[in-house]
Structures are given as structure tokens and as C-alpha cells.
């Protein structure tokens, strides 16, 4: 993100908060959905995440990457909501809180969604129709009313771009 926006975010500037939400609202919601599985709970987690981030904005170190900072808040917020719903009393003395499902890939979900949000709309659309809807290039071409060759080139560019945007995942 623009360092100037992050500097303004640190002092609680509303337009900077909006810019941060526009950039990370999707990834935070995707992460929350991944952990909680219900849109209502995920919306609550997303809203709480950004309120907490705004309240704690002065603790953000602008020399560090912003993405892991907001990710940590989002993850903890979603887990807290999950725990409140999943608390199981297994003995008179011990209140065991279970582990939320999907935690193994939650960082990948957050990062993949953040990368998708940086793709041009026409490339993002092809990726969605291919992976989520399971359509072939021919079916995508029919649905969008464009030549198959255009679908292929958009798909190739999109996946190349995703690999660049997600290259840091390989280093983890």
C-alpha cells in the first residue's frame, strides 16, 4: 500500500481507513469465511477486525509490511468469534476451547484473495469462471462472448500474474 496512506492510517485518518478497507476488506472477509463458514459471522468478524485495527492504528509500525499486521488481527478476531460459539465444557473444571477448522490454509486464503483483488477485472473474471465455476475455455468464451484465443491469453496472463503476486508463499 501507499506509505503515505499508511502514515495517515496510523493517526486514524478516515479516508486512509477507507483506503485500507477497500484494499483488505475482501481478504479479511475471505479469511473470516474460511474460519467461520457463515456470512453473518464473517461480516461481524470483518467489521470487528477493522474497528480493532483503527483503534490500534498507532501501534502499527509503518516500516513493516501492513498485510501481516491486519492478517494477525483478522485471524485472531475470527478465532475469538469461533471460540465463543464452539466452547465445550468437557469437565467440571476445564473449559476446553476447540480449534477452528481451516486454520492450516487461512494465510493462503488471505493472500490468494489479496492477489485476486489486484488482477484486472477481465482476468479475474476468467480465473473465477475457470476455478470456481469449473468452466472450460470454450464455455468461458461462450459465456463472455469473446474468442477462445482471448480467453486463453487472459488466463495465461492472469495465472502468471498470480504466481508473481504469490511468490512469497513459496518462501514460507
Amino acid at each position: 500500500m501507499d506509505p503515505e496512506v499508511l502514515q495517515r492510517f496510523r493517526i486514524g485518518d478516515e479516508s486512509a481507513v477507507k483506503a485500507v478497507y477497500d484494499r483488505f476488506g475482501g481478504p479479511v472477509f475471505a479469511l473470516s469465511m474460511s474460519i467461520l463458514g457463515e456470512p453473518g459471522l464473517a461480516a461481524d468478524a470483518t467489521q470487528q477486525t477493522f474497528i480493532k485495527a483503527w483503534r490500534a492504528a498507532s501501534t502499527y509500525d509503518p516500516e513493516r509490511s501492513f498485510s501481516p499486521w491486519i492478517y494477525a488481527i483478522a485471524r485472531r478476531t475470527a478465532i475469538d468469534i469461533y471460540r465463543k460459539r464452539a466452547r465445550l465444557v468437557v469437565s467440571d473444571q476445564v473449559d476446553v476451547v476447540s480449534m477452528a477448522p481451516g486454520l492450516e490454509t487461512v494465510w493462503e486464503v488471505f493472500e490468494v484473495r489479496a492477489a485476486l483483488d489486484q488482477l484486472p477485472d477481465e482476468e479475474r473474471q476468467v480465473v473465477k469462471l475457470s476455478h470456481f465455476d469449473g468452466l472450460t475455455h470454450g464455455e468461458i468464451a461462450n459465456q463472455l462472448g469473446i474468442p477462445v484465443g482471448t480467453v486463453k491469453s487472459r488466463s495465461h496472463r492472469a495465472h502468471q500474474r498470480l504466481l508473481v503476486l504469490l511468490r512469497h508463499l513459496e518462501e514460507m
Binding site: 481507513v17 475471505a30 494477525a72 476445564v94 476447540s98 492450516e104 494465510w107 490468494v112 498470480l162 504469490l166
Partner: protein, 213 residues
Amino acid sequence: MGTDDIRPQYLATGSGESPADHEQLDLIRGVLAESSTWEEPPEGVVDGLFATIAREGHAPVVETAAKRQRPPWLLAAGVVAAIALLVIGVVSVFDEPIAETVVAMTGTNLAPAAAGVASLRPTPSGWYIRLDVSGLPAAPEGTYYQGWVWNDDEGVSIGTFHLRDGDDAVVLWSGVDVAEYPAISVTLEDEGAGPEASERIMMKGRFEELSEG
């Protein structure tokens, strides 16, 4: 077909020539196929956010993490709770049981204030190991922490981390059976150094018996 073409092709289709990092690409493909990856937050989220901001006014200045050190008694309580979990053995997620073993970890003389627990459970792709640590400072610039599991002869890396953005839980993975590598440690490593573990052991623990199933 060159490497530059193989990877986007594999990411797009999951077929054809398999690149060296195909497992990572398969993971990304799995995420791309999930509906949660594509869903948009409702409009009400941003409305509620700005309603809260308007109600509360300026963002408060929050004390830094360094000032929010957990008192020792709280950590001790956490370790006791973790050991209680070890005794209980099986933790349930709604109706789905997950076997999880919890091991106490202690700081060495290089990090005497460090303490925490390692939670381990088997998965189809390896051992999931989560570290919840307290009192371990962020790794200095130019260094990082590395997790290891050990038997009597050798150590196997289970991942690296730095804690520079807070003390959130650290998730590591072991591709070897931890029953065969029963000691766990965290070392401090220099960036650019070789693959061997340094002698700067910051934390360590040992699991004597693993509950599986």
C-alpha cells in the same frame, strides 16, 4: 515448454508437466476453487465501521506490545491449562474429534523469559505444529527463528519465523513422524548462513508420548 510456461499452465489446469513446487500450486488451486475466496463483504460492514469511528471519534493511542508483557502468573496458568489439555487428550471441533498433543516449551539461558506450548496433531500431509510463545523477543534484523524436531542423531527443520509483527501463534509443519523425532527446539539463525542448525537454542521441549487417533 520452459519453466516460465509450466507453472502458470499447471496453476491454470492442474495438469501437464508437473513443476517442482506443484504441491504449493495445488494448494493455491484448492483455495481458488473455494466459494469463501470469492465472496464479497456485505455493504453493512463498512457502514458499521464508519458509524463506530464517528461515535468514538479519534483513534486512541494504544500502549505498545512491549508495555503489555503478560504477567508470569498468567503464563503459568496458560501452561497449566495446556497440560490439562494433554491429559484430556482429545479435543473436539463441533462433532469432529481431533487428536492433539500439547507440549510445554521453556526458554534456555539465551531467552530465559521465553515460555510456551507446542500443539501437535497429525494431518494427511504431515504434522501440524502450532507454537504459542510468550517472552521470546522478535528476531533481530538479519536473523530469524527456526523450528526443529530432533532424534538422537539429527534435526529436521519444521519452518522459520521472526515474530516482528507481534506474538501471534506460529504454525510449523513436520514432514517426519514426530514420534521418531521427539525433541523440539527453536534456534536463532543468521540470514544467509547454511542449512544446519546454529548452536543458539532459544527454546526447547520434548514429547514423551504422543496420542494419535
